[in-house]
Symmetry: C2
Subunit: 578 residues, 2 copies
């Protein structure tokens, strides 16, 4: 028992015992491919987060190893990702200036807070909280973030120093700087962007037509940024071009760093850290589940929280910033054949070698190339079709997408996602607070009861049957009461009311109290209240409530039983009809 729980807490003890030579070979090949792809990506995302380039590499070393020890997905690759990098820039930008030591420490602190939050969510099994990020909110947020990131990188393509955290501010600042465009930078930027788009759109289909498998074509395509980096770096170095470059990057293993324990800083970063944790978890788990299903494997969400929490704490103490499971790196890892989390550990070794040995090679790498890789990567996140899908589903879902998107673009990522979550919850409550309520009658020749407005059904003037198509709780019970009282007050012939509860999955105390009041008010009008088709959990709660004692009518097993007992004439005529 004890061994099993240790194995659950450290999945490496499980797959580690089954590890063999074939697995090792597959994991090593995957690691080499992923390492090559990650070098430019890590530099680019560090730039997006407003951090020095090496922070992106450091954030991909210890975090990967810690995830390999504690995580449950065999293919997930943990490290810096675009959206979390953007959110880091937004959060840290509030407390420090880019390029200062305070900025780097705030990023470490943000990673540490995320790590603690994720670990706590894992230990207390709070992963379900992520479910409150509804699909419209996530989709709207991701698309809007993709737009924000892409527009934010345009300044690097133009070689100007524009600023702004929101779309209007960015566009206005870019407009003001249009006169200062650096033409050499623009040439490199446009060439790199065009090349990368061609690699995505044109090369992959061409390779697949040439006979490569889809997986191999995907890997080749993902190497596109590496080619762009090599070509533009050589161009800048060889032609002595005057463009902004990455410059000197320290040749070093990840340093030991300490996050801040300043209470004021922690208070400021707490909400951003919570949002980064939850959004990073949602992104990571969605990638991990997709890849696991392809091999009929399962991942454990609570254990994933612990894996991601450990990875973020690792980033905080080794010069990184918040990390999560990334989509593109994980897919490449999977397609390249990674079989166990050991592939991640080998990737970490590869990146450590790169950090020590290869950093001088990126001195002449132009920022414009990194910006081009970011732009091409994030534009695949922007999918405005969600607006059409949401509209087709419901106005509430459309409103949630649109509000999240507009507020993310105009007021920033934190406001956008927070407002989206609150609006989703409010609209859900609003919708369930006005349930569908139908007056029903007997379909002749059957024992079925249907809406009197849609079907030709038999009713009796002394009997009102109301079907509620929703669980009853505080927000909707009084609407039912109003409907029933309105109907009964306007029709003196009614002697019995039956509430048909076939769609009522649960009731709360408010609903019981409302039914109790309805029962008393109907009694004042000399009308009896009955219930029919009551489900098990509802029956249990009813039986412990004062309503069970005071109900003027009966609880019928089925609506047919109710009609048979209250207005037998209808059932007899129905029986004659058959």
């Amino acid at each position: 028992m004890k061994i099993r729980s240790v194995m659950q807490a450290m999945p490496i003890l499980d797959w580690g015992r089954r590890y063999d030579g074939a697995m090792l070979r597959n994991d090593l090949i995957a690691a080499v491919i992923v390492t090559i792809m990650l070098i430019p990506q890590s530099l680019a995302y560090a730039m997006l987060a407003g951090l020095p380039p090496e922070a992106g590499i450091y954030a991909s070393i210890l975090p990967i190893i810690l995830y390999a020890v504690f995580g449950t997905s065999s293919a997930l690759a943990v490290g810096p990702v675009a959206i979390v990098s953007l959110m880091t820039a937004a959060a840290v930008g509030q407390v420090a200036q880019t390029g200062t030591a305070g900025y780097a420490v705030a990023a470490l602190t943000l990673a540490a807070l995320s790590g603690v939050i994720l670990l706590a969510m894992g230990v207390f099994r709070l992963g379900f909280l992520a479910n409150f990020l509804s699909h419209p909110v996530i989709a709207g947020f991701i698309s809007a973030s993709g737009i924000l990131i892409a527009v934010g990188q345009v300044k690097h393509l133009l070689g100007v120093s524009a600023s702004g955290d929101t779309l209007p501010a960015m566009l206005m600042s870019l407009g003001q700087h249009l006169g200062q465009v650096n033409m050499q930078t623009l040439v490199i930027g446009v060439a790199a962007t065009g090349f990368l788009f061609w690699v995505r759109r044109g090369l992959k289909p061409a390779l697949m037509r040439a006979g490569l498998s889809q997986g191999a074509a995907t890997i080749a395509t993902r190497a596109g940024p590496v080619a762009a980096v090599v070509l533009t770096t050589l161009a800048v170095w060889g032609l002595g071009m005057d463009v902004k470059v990455v410059g000197t990057v320290p040749q070093s293993l990840p340093p030991l760093t300490l996050p801040s324990v300043d209470p004021a800083l922690i208070r400021t970063l707490l909400v951003p850290a919570l949002l980064i944790s939850v959004i990073g978890f949602v992104e990571s788990i969605s990638v991990a589940q997709t890849l696991a299903a392809k091999r009929r494997q399962r991942i454990n969400p609570d254990q994933e929280l612990i894996g991601l929490g450990a990875a973020n704490l690792g980033a905080a103490f080794t010069g990184g910033y918040p990390v999560t499971g990334g989509f593109s790196r994980s897919v490449v890892n999977f397609d390249a054949g990674a079989e166990t989390p050991a592939a991640g550990a080998f990737t970490a070794i590869g990146l450590a070698v790169a950090a020590v040995a290869l950093t001088p090679l990126v001195h002449y790498l132009p920022n414009a190339t990194l910006a081009a890789t970011i732009i091409v990567a994030v534009l695949s996140l922007v999918d405005l079709r969600i607006l059409r899908h949401a509209w087709a589903c419901s106005r509430a879902d459309f409103a949630a997408v649109a509000v999240t998107m507009v507020l993310t673009l105009t007021l920033g990522v934190e406001t956008g996602v927070s407002a989206g979550v609150m609006l989703s919850v409010a609209l859900h409550l609003y919708n369930t607070s006005r349930p569908h309520i139908a007056e029903v009658g007997l379909v002749p020749g059957t024992q079925h009861f249907r809406n009197i407005l849609r079907y030709d059904v038999t009713t009796h003037p002394a009997l009102l049957t109301i079907r509620i198509d929703e669980s009853l709780y505080f927000a909707n019970a009084r609407m039912l009461e109003d409907r029933v009282l309105d109907r009964v007050a306007g029709d003196a012939a009614i002697r019995d009311v039956v509430l048909m509860c076939s769609a009522v999955n649960s009731v709360d105390l408010s609903a019981l109290e409302t039914l109790h009041a309805l029962n008393a008010r109907l009694a004042d009008m000399d009308v009896r209240l009955h219930l029919s088709e009551v489900k098990g959990p509802v029956t249990d709660r009813l039986s412990h409530s004062p309503l069970a004692r005071d109900l003027t009518g009966q609880i019928f097993r089925s609506q047919w039983d109710a009609v048979a007992a209250l207005t037998p004439a209808i059932c007899q005529s129905a029986a004659r009809a058959t």
Copy 2:
């Protein structure tokens, strides 16, 4: 059409045309009885609100008339009530000192804001917002407020100047002042309290035994405070006792007053005004519905909002403070035979006469007597049995009651009710986020499908049938996905999964997306996904979603059809069994 809508907006045009001599007589009698009862009650509630005594009378004059014009209840009596008076004291106490001109202006402003909020809720049909005050929150809040009000009045019984807005602060302050008790005040206070309790508990049964009807006995009992006022005023005047008395009250009709338009004051009072509006509306509508049902009448909630809004605006411009429909005054009005809102108008005339002619008579009325009337009135609001009822229903409901009660007592009325509402919503979402999910099989010899854990049912190793007992939405769809994927990943024999949707009343976009992802992940495992017993609204949304196109399996009308198509052997053996 137009005439009808004017009549709906001003119900007086409806009942006014049918008014006759018998109605006039009944309304006049009711008005006299209510006026006598309201004089001490109005003085007492003004003291509770921290306002001069005449404010309570003024708040009962124009508001009653405006409600008579715009309201829909024939018996509701509008004016100051205990809980709204307490909330007024709490809100206004934040911005001004009792007894200052600023305090009175802030109270007028609070009434004006409440009036505007109520009118807006009525015009925009937002009355449903009141439904988000769940029964546990209302019950917990009312009981806790009753305790706060009663304990807050003890200082008047003791004749000390204790302070405090929360129960611990009040008790501590009372303890510190125990050495300064005024014995004459204590004698009057204890005597009045004892007398009033006896009137409630002993006199009413005695009168009913003596042959009075329950209505007449209720009226006689409600006159108890008048008797206490007369006796103690005579005692103080006649014996020259040294106790705090009401003192000089201006002899005047309600003055014309103006609420403040200071933006800072309005911002501070906005949230309290919103809470006062919603809580006042809930109290009022509940009384009005109870009384209307006794005469098989209906009240219109949106029109009630307009009636109460007009009443509060009336209070704001005539020296009053926030008002609502009160329980005790409305019941007396009803029992005394009020037939139309004209009874309220006659009460207003009676109170206007009292304000001009009778105020000198209350000069020697001791504050201790007013405190006694308040204490005896509000202790009937305290009903701790709600804790037991809530516990019997569910832990969530119990938590909502307990948290509302404890926070109201310790942190104040606004915090208590706000936290209660948020907790109710959070617990409701939490409960619906973990729906009951059952694996079901065929009950042999029937076409019914039941939980495999509870019934002896037939299943097939290649077919997994899952029934979800809740509507699917963003907070619970992923839990369903996790359950299905866990089950399928652990059982290689499964080839088909059927989701039985008989209890799914609705789906949102998130649920559709999750089902879409589940479908794709099951397809990766070579498992088909089917749906059965899908309801109309769910079918509509499905048909517009990508899932309809990509579903690997079928949508079956009934679970029996699904089993018959996917594993016909089971149905055949079931048929043989019958």
